[in-house]
């Protein structure tokens, strides 16, 4: 069997298994699916949840791969760079301030929240690029991202305490901070879907540019890449993807770190292959995590963001230690 046929078959099996598992999560969890009417309602709600988890996973994982190429740093990811915290803050501020803004007169909050998320993620990335002056060394990048995350989370905390004056706003603002897909609805999904598809498509299409970026600014420029233009484009698309993900699923940490890291080990670092699989893997990771959370016999659901951080933080530390051991930091 040729290796191309082998990998195509392997890909089909992986896709089939993944889709089957994702579909199976729709059937687990409490609720009587035998009652036709009730069953349809449950299935529809779970489909929205799975859709939101899948979209957010694909978007964050793709944004992670892009950030890792942009900063030439396998530790870079939307949450490590402060972009998810920035996006969450953007969304929280919109929720908090929207009622007093004229904007609601034209369009509902469902439209303005994603815009706030995009702006927050974009601001975080621009700050990282400005403070790090392009490509800071690996530890500096993490420190800058850490400080920005802390700042955005603190400001988010202020937003949360201000929001407590009104119950619904308070609930929405807290849910944003914790991350989760229980409130997913068709409008938000429909709004995010085209942006995520475009972002993943653009990433795959610009695979050779991303490969070249891995060789550093000088070599990339010497072989014909417009580094400044590529940096701008990538920054905008990372912000779009993170904004879309956070608008449907709140602040989820480490997805863009864990999934690309695992997928890269299987399919290699070439972006044309890596990106579609990272997007698929990210979607699957969050759909399965959410399905598992729903089926845990706890009185109230664990927030999805808590789970991704519980998985992601130890892996981040392990990667950091390995890179320190192999002298790859700095």
């Amino acid at each position: 069997m040729s290796s191309a046929l082998g990998s195509a078959l392997g890909a089909l099996v992986a896709l089939g298994l993944g889709l089957g598992l994702a579909a199976a999560t729709l059937l687990i969890g409490p609720g009587d699916l035998n009652d036709a009417e009730l069953g349809a309602v449950f299935l529809r709600l779970r489909l929205y949840r799975a859709g939101a988890a899948g979209l957010a996973g694909a978007a964050l994982s793709t944004a992670g791969v892009m950030a890792q190429a942009l900063f030439r740093n396998p530790l870079a990811s939307p949450s490590v760079l402060g972009a998810t915290a920035g996006a969450a803050l953007g969304g929280q501020l919109v929720l908090l301030l929207l009622p007093s803004l004229l904007a609601t007169a034209f369009l509902g909050p469902e439209v303005w929240v994603p815009c706030g998320c995009f702006a927050g993620a974009g601001l975080a990335l621009m700050l990282v690029l400005a403070i790090g002056r392009g490509q800071p060394d690996r530890i500096s990048l993490i420190l800058i991202g850490f400080v920005l995350s802390a700042l955005f989370l603190a400001l988010g905390g202020v937003a949360i305490s201000l929001a407590q004056e009104r119950f619904e706003v308070g609930r929405a603002v807290v849910a944003f901070a914790l991350g989760g897909v229980s409130g997913a609805g068709p409008f938000g999904l429909g709004l995010a879907l085209p942006w995520v598809l475009l972002g993943v498509g653009l990433g795959v299409a610009s695979g050779p540019s991303l490969d070249l970026m891995l060789s550093g600014e000088k070599e990339a420029a010497a072989f014909g890449l417009d580094v400044r233009q590529s940096t701008r484009t990538l920054t905008v698309w990372i912000a779009v993807l993170v904004g879309a993900a956070v608008s449907v699923a709140g602040n989820l940490g480490f997805v863009g770190l864990v999934v690309p890291h695992a997928v890269r080990r299987i399919v290699g670092p070439t972006h044309r292959r890596l990106l579609p699989w990272a997007a698929f893997g990210g979607a699957l990771f969050l759909i399965l995590s959410d399905g598992l959370l729903r089926s845990l016999p706890t009185r109230s659901e664990l927030p999805l963001g808590v789970v991704t951080s519980l998985v992601g933080a130890p892996l981040f530390l392990q990667m950091l230690l390995r890179m320190k051991r192999e002298g790859e930091l700095g």
């Binding site: 030439r72 050779p208 490969d211 070249l212 060789s215 000088k218 070599e219 072989f223 790859e328």
Partner: protein, 241 residues
């Protein structure tokens, strides 16, 4: 006279308010093998980077064709396959398009010419320094540029592979490419280059064929060296590697 592929006039580079290169004039013609020599810190790498346009510089650089650069070492720290690294050389021509049969043929040719054919399926980061060097040369060849700039390409190469590189440079020059090579090994420079430029503190202090550029007073002034009266033993490949 052969076509002029690259010319620099009054080229100078400043760093932190201090002039580190030039002003100098330089040109490379089709078929020329130009060696750039000088002690550490003389401005050799700076000269190459300014010629490619990677550094802000004063003066004028006229490029009559594409340039390809082989840096001293790659900044690449991701585990791409050797084939993917060499494919980077096609970027200027192909951008983000899928590589076609002709691209693959050129990549195979470049790997073969650089003596890296057997490395094609290996991971770049797991290669030895010498092997990496050959892959970077293949990447530059894959760009089919008319001017090749090599920054200390023999560092990390054993003598056999250094001689192969010299032969490759001669072959490329015969195919009408211009090759500009920064070298530390004066012996290799004298043997494989048809013109030498000696840099000291960013300025050209001697130029011309080896016997002229490496005359005793230049050796003494620039490196504090003198040539031994008896020639050291010379080597050549007894059979193809």
């Amino acid at each position: 006279m052969a076509e002029r592929l690259l010319s620099a006039t009054q080229l100078e580079v400043h760093r932190d308010g201090r002039r580190v290169l030039g002003p100098l004039d330089l040109e490379a013609r089709a078929g020329q093998r130009l060696g750039v020599l000088g002690p550490n810190g003389a401005g050799k790498s700076t000269l190459l980077e300014a010629l490619i346009g990677l550094l802000p510089h004063g003066g004028r650089v006229k490029r009559n064709g594409e340039l390809a650069w082989v840096p001293q070492r790659s900044e690449l720290r991701s585990d791409l396959s050797v084939r993917s690294v060499v494919a980077q050389g096609r970027y200027r021509l192909r951008r983000d398009a899928r590589l076609d049969d002709r691209d693959q043929t050129v990549i195979r040719w470049a790997l073969g010419e650089a003596g890296a054919a057997e490395l094609a399926d290996r991971r770049f980061l797991r290669l030895s320094e010498g092997e990496k060097r050959r892959v970077l040369i293949a990447r530059a060849l894959a760009s089919e540029a008319s001017v090749l700039l090599l920054d200390e390409p023999t560092a990390g190469l054993d003598l056999g592979h250094a001689l192969d590189l010299g032969a490759l440079i001669e072959r490329l020059a015969r195919q009408n490419q211009a090759v500009i090579v920064v070298l530390h090994d004066l012996g290799l420079a004298a043997r494989f280059m048809d013109e030498l430029v000696v840099l000291q503190d960013g300025e050209i202090v001697a130029r011309g064929p080896a016997e002229e550029a490496l005359r005793p007073e230049v050796l003494n002034q620039v490196w504090g060296l003198r040539a031994l009266p008896k020639q050291a033993p010379l080597f050549e490949r007894s059979h193809p590697s």
